[in-house]
Amino acid sequence: MKEELNTLEQTVLNDYKYGFVTDIDTDIVPKGINETLIRLIWAKKNEPDWMLDWRLKAYTQWQKMEEPKWPNVTYPAINYQDIIYYAAPKQKGQLKGLDELDPELRRTFEKLGISLDEQKRLSGVAVDVVMDSVSVATSFKKQLSEIGVIFCSMSEAIQQHPELVKKYLGSVVPMTDNYFAALNAAVFTDGSFCFIPKSVRCPMELSTYFRINAENSGQFERTLIIAEDDSYVSYLEGCTAPMRDENQLHAAVVELVALSKAEIKYSTVQNWYPGDKEGHGGIYNFVTKRGICIGEHSKISWTQVETGSAITWKYPSVILKGDGSIGEFYSIALTNNHQQADTGTKMIHLGKNTKSRIVSKGISAGYSNNSYRGLVRAGKGATNARNYSQCDSLLLGDKCGANTFPYIEVKNTTAVVEHEATTSKIGEDQLFYCKQRGIDTETAVALIVNGFAKEVMNQLPMEFAVEAQKLLAINLEGSVG
């Protein structure tokens, strides 16, 4: 009796709305990674020679490296020769405008709630859409270029703005930074590029929507955002993938560069396919995201809502080099069923009077495992550095787990680092209390989760916040019946 009625453990069919597959002709290369593949990608992208050198160097390094074993996650060994590294929807040559986009692709993104129709966009969000290995469209490019903002695919940036790419690519996340970053450097196929010139406040939100469609493929994209002196940009990122029984690898690199007094706000709503309720399939989301506050009084703020992926391994970080610079990390990581997340941040204080703030909210349900891992380092020169970290965990039911691994390294005696952590449990007793007041399980869980996540949700741009709140509810449906 008890077992069959335990609502928190009750499981319903996984309801992942974005799990469909688009039927489109795709240009696919054979499985496996080797030098030939890298030359093939390089050739397909029509890249300059220095890119080939860069890629090959990364490949050589990668072969000498080992997959990290320290994250608190378990998965069967990945066979890197069994992955398709390049899959691109076939398009008829270079698009002159958005209206030339394949209607099937347009429909796909509309189904995902991404309108590419510039007239229809009320909210002023420019979007670059990446399907599998390539960027298929970017909106508002022209309007943005009029004020000097460059917003385009990475491939285009390599062609059109080689001097910027050459200067900054790999400057924040070196190709040898870690195993997945090295892999990405060798085989990345596309991504988004943003450049905000001096004193420009980007008038619209820039965004990239990542979609995996092809089977057995991996997605390896790079995003590079450069904000010059006194500029501001808010950037959003969303992602989904079809439901499949096999795991798919997504290994991205994101680099942010903030010059003097510049501010970059980077928000992610990550909703990759999480796998089914038994833990089959889903995306391995192994991502390296890092920003550097090079200039004094610059600011980088990461906000992430991580609800998808079978495994999430990601630590959006900030290097606080410029004096008086500020780094922020706001995170909600939700895991349900058999999902695993090991996520957090690194705040590296190098400059004087640098400040950082970390607010991490982990929600675990089902049989999932959710770890926060964070490093706060104050270097010798980080006089008067300040950090405040708060890590809260919410457990729904008693089969899931939450861990907090805070690492603190302080080399300057004037630096102050504060860390607070809490763990709360929502069980049958809490749910029953709500029900006795006329609040059904679903409403109760939404109430509890939204209350818990509010501080981070408030950091998201309005339009995204609504979407993210819905996502939290949908992704918990399985856990509460």
Partner: protein, 259 residues
């Protein structure tokens, strides 16, 4: 209003309620007393619909409807309220937001529109005054870090906000200081109404002095073994439960003889 017929209930294979019969009519105040572990809270939880209990026999009607067929939330929306003996803490949800959700869920169920912020605030103010509820508690997570007495008072506050048809108060008087007890009693008395019934579970005479119940029942081993007027409570206070146990021992013996 509430009619309990021969309810038997078990948890984890252990039989707790062994045939309870009880009729409660609108406007009445009943009290249930009985030694620790006799099944008083179990009865309240069974009526509220706690899933862990297995109802092995019997039936309950509430306002003419089959109570046991209803989900716990619908029972609440129909007007059943339990002031819990051990109110739970819910982190991250403010008391105000919690109660607002509860009030509006009930309104929705009855086809009424949700209260707007102004109307809700007005209702809150009114009911807060009724139970001397401390304003600062309302913005805190519900029951989290509340003192024992604050939790009990919060239960009565919620009762006042939800205006139930039948309120079951499970040892709301335990852990209250003298002033708080008076306030709770006042709150309950204000709620007394010809269309409303109250069932008080208690170990003490004090609250009953204030509330003057119409009926007092003694629960023992999952059965109501004595019912009477308010003087029964006085008798219990004076003599303890032993005299009742003796009586039942006798009754049980007689029954055994008959069978």
């Amino acid at each position: 209003m509430l009619s309990i017929k021969n309810i038997h209930a078990a948890i984890e294979g252990k039989q707790i309620l062994n045939g309870i019969n009880l009729e409660i009519k609108p406007g009445e105040v009943h009290a249930i007393m009985g030694p620790n572990g006799s099944g008083k809270s179990t009865l309240a939880l069974v009526l509220a619909g706690r899933e862990e209990y297995e109802i092995t026999q019997g039936m309950v009607t509430f306002s003419g409807k089959d109570l046991l067929e209803m989900s716990p939330e619908d029972r609440a929306r129909e007007g059943l309220f339990i002031a819990f003996q051990y109110p739970v803490e819910i982190p991250g949800v403010s008391t105000t937001n919690f109660i607002k959700t509860a009030v509006n869920e009930k309104r929705k169920y009855h086809g009424q529109e949700a209260l707007d912020a102004v109307a809700f605030l007005k209702l809150m103010k009114e009911k807060m005054a009724l139970v001397n509820m401390d304003q600062s508690l309302l913005s805190r997570s519900i029951n989290e870090g509340f003192s024992g007495g604050e939790k009990k008072r919060n239960e009565i506050f919620q009762m006042a906000m939800l205006e139930p048809k039948l309120a079951i108060l499970d040892e709301t008087d335990s852990g209250l200081d003298i002033d708080a007890l008076r306030v709770v009693a006042k709150g309950v008395n204000e709620l007394r109404h010809k269309d409303r019934a109250i069932l008080i579970i208690t170990h003490y005479q004090r609250l009953l002095d204030y509330l003057q119940p119409d009926f007092v029942h003694v629960l023992y081993n999952g059965r109501i073994v004595r019912s009477g007027g308010k003087e029964l409570a006085l008798e219990l206070e004076e003599k303890g439960y032993d005299f009742i146990k003796d009586e039942i021992g006798l009754t049980a013996g007689v029954q055994a003889g008959i069978n």
